[in-house]
Amino acid sequence: MKKRGRGVAWMFYPIGFTAYANPSAAFVKVNQDGSAVVWTGATDVGQGSTTALAQIAADALGIPVELVTMVTSDTLQTPMDIGSVASRVTYIAGNAIVRACEMAKQILFEVASEELGIGPEGLESRNGWIFVRDFPERRVRLAEIARKAEVVKGRPVIGAGSYNPPTTFLDPETGHGKPYNTYVYAAQVAEVEVDTETGEVKVLRIAAVHDCGRAINPLLVEGQIEGGVAMGLGYALSEEMVLQEGRVLNTKLADYLVPTSLDVPPIDVEIVEVPDPTGPFGAKGIGEPSLLPTAPAIVNAIYDAVGVRIRELPATPERILMALREKEKEQPGRSVRDREDGRPEK
């Protein structure tokens, strides 16, 4: 018999290392033609950091993103970055880049203030223009100012910045402290179908709603969530290294089951954007959190479907069948919904 069920799970997850310093640094220069180069040690491992960081740099400088060249992840040629880990790059490297851009912009604004007849603090830049905040029609091309700064004033437009989230270590006695500077949140709902004859679980659909602060690039954020859900689905149902005396018995991708296109269901993704004032343009992060609620949502959905609680991952057909048989033994003939798991004896 095939039975359907739904389950929910939510999560909270921090951005950055646990208490340890985990800085990023960045350099930027604005060329005479108003284009820019950003140097960051952050490595794009597929999550899309280089693209998101370019978008941050573009808006921090006030130039089109197409004019931003990124130089990344080279210990000789780029400034320090602790790495693409801990869902930290958008938040921390992003903040470093904003700071570097602020420094470069200060030079631009000082040079532009002569032209526009107002102090640098009254200026803003956007899309290649520097303008008076209160009279946006009073403006000058950023490229013109960049050229003037370098060629006439002898002040090349450069900037450097770094960021490290403020944290404290845990007290060894109590475990109290503030190990992270910010958190993200999410909830997912899974709908499954369990075959009570074979124990097989088919995930029919996942709804995933994540708050990542401001989404610098919703396309890439969605991609992170969808990929995380797939990884969470593998964690829930199929992925397990089988060991015998320390030797891995399934060392092939044919025997260790990463979800395929047929295993991953349609995923409804929604991004809740609550900007964080400590992040670049309000952004936080998304990389790791995306997979967290998936496995428990699926396992809770299995319980909803057939009334057995799987407490050991992955929830393989064998484990589900065993649990179903166990339940049948305990309460022969009773319907699966009668017994709520974990309820103490009355």
Partner: protein, 434 residues
């Protein structure tokens, strides 16, 4: 080849209304990716390049009696063999300096590298690796963290098998349980999981003038790799340059130094570029994995569904070396109570050495394990008080200004909002947010 990405062609600068933030922009390097031009670690090449292959332990725990590379070195095309003796400073690690670049006196897990061969072709390197004679004296091994904690268990390292312990206390958990009307206790387990980034670990080392070294590697943390390579090879940091290539996925599996010091040292020894790529088998057996956890959850709740106390005990199978084990355990402990308001909490974590594969960093860093446990446990607790899981969550979930067991106060908490939207997206009627 530093990764420099720029889109082409630049458009005319005109006054588009808003900026780039919030835009659905395609990846900077998308064009390179879809045309097969993006260069990953596995794609790196240099003229005169040698291939490297590791010699790995078939034993989970053994004393190394003797390593004899003579036969391997006599094979035509073999350029160099390195062992622990060639590593100037054979210790590294983030919180615990227990890892060896190459095993010295003992091997502690199946697949631990004891030697690395460089040869003209991959074929010769692979053949020669089989000809490196390693004499082992097998030692008693331990594969279960609970057994490893018992007195008299085989010792993976000196100083006992408990590599790290951590606890977090908030409120008075005993009092909390005495105030509870219902207590629910469950045990959860999670498996060993491999990252399975599609691109294996791969690196190319190129020797430069005056003893300098450039290493191209498919890695998430080039700066950590550079400083660790400099340390273990006793080189000035200024002589080591690490460049991350395009990376075919990492998920935490490329968080640390692996093959870089081997190809680096072989390149310095031979004066030639040296390349190495792990096989999929090596990825499973010899690189880091997600730690398996055993988690005992005990929760006290009132009949009206208010949480009052929770204790969690976590036992993490560290594997043979700590790597990121202590850090992942810390993150797991901090989040183990879940996103709930619970006045009395006690969390206890143990990281235990075994002769299993080494646990490292993997997406979520200890939290997917506890996240599975605390969310399934939440459903059990809700059922125990006869509440549906959604109402129960909405009642006990963290909100703005709530405090975690670490004492940290949270702001801009959007749990209820995300749950509400997820239920709506899934077309789930019951349990709307009050």
């Amino acid at each position: 080849m530093t990764v420099i990405t720029r889109p082409a062609p630049p458009p005319v600068v005109e006054e588009a209304a808003e900026g780039a933030v919030g835009k659905r922009k395609s990846r900077h390097d998308a064009l390179l990716q879809v045309t097969g031009q993006a260069l990953y670690g596995v794609d790196m090449k240099a003229p005169g390049m040698l291939w490297a292959k590791a010699v790995r332990s078939p034993y989970p725990h053994a004393r190394i009696v003797r390593i004899d590379p003579t036969r391997a070195l006599s094979i035509p095309g073999v350029a160099c063999v390195i062992t622990a003796r060639d590593i100037p400073h054979n210790r590294y690690g983030f919180t615990h300096q227990d890892q060896r670049v190459l095993a010295d006196d003992r091997v502690r897990y199946v697949g631990e590298a004891v030697a690395v061969v460089a040869a003209e072709t991959l074929r010769v390197a692979t053949e020669a690796a089989k000809e490196v004679v390693v004499e082992y004296e097998p030692l008693p091994a331990v594969f279960d963290p609970i057994e490893a904690m018992q007195p008299g268990a085989p010792q993976v390292h000196e100083g006992g098998n408990i590599a790290a312990r951590l606890h977090i206390r908030d409120g008075d958990v005993e009092r909390g349980f005495s105030e509870a009307e219902i207590i629910v206790e469950e045990e959860f387990r999670t498996p060993f999981v491999e990252h399975c980034h599609l691109e294996p670990h791969a690196a190319l080392a190129i020797p430069g003038p005056q003893g300098t070294l450039t290493i191209y590697s498919s890695v998430q943390r080039p700066f950590l790799v550079a400083s660790d390579v400099a340390k273990v090879l006793s080189m000035p940091l200024s002589h080591v340059r690490v460049v991350a290539t395009s990376v075919g996925g990492g998920f935490g599996g490329k968080n640390e130094m692996t093959l870089e010091p081997w190809v680096g040292l072989l390149a310095l020894r031979t004066g030639r570029p040296v390349k190495m790529v792990f096989t999929r088998e090596e990825e499973f057996q010899a690189t880091t994995v997600r730690h398996p956890y055993r988690m005992r959850y005990r929760t006290g709740v009132r009949r009206d569904g208010t949480l009052v106390a929770r204790s969690v005990e976590i036992i993490s199978d560290c594997g043979a070396y700590v790597s990121w084990g202590a850090s992942t355990l810390a993150k797991a402990c901090i989040h183990a109570a879940g996103p709930y308001v619970i006045p009395h909490v006690k969390i206890e974590g143990f990281l235990v050495y075994t002769n299993n594969p080494v646990g490292g960093a993997m997406r979520g860093f200890g939290v997917p394990q506890v996240g599975f446990a605390y969310e399934c446990h939440t459903d059990s607790v809700a059922a125990a008080v006869g509440m549906d899981p959604i109402t129960f969550r909405l009642r006990n979930g963290l909100r703005d200004g709530c405090r975690l067991p670490t004492g940290q106060v949270l702001e801009r908490v959007t749990l209820h909002q995300t749950l509400q939207r997820a239920l709506e997206l899934a077309g789930w009627e019951r349990g709307a947010v009050p």
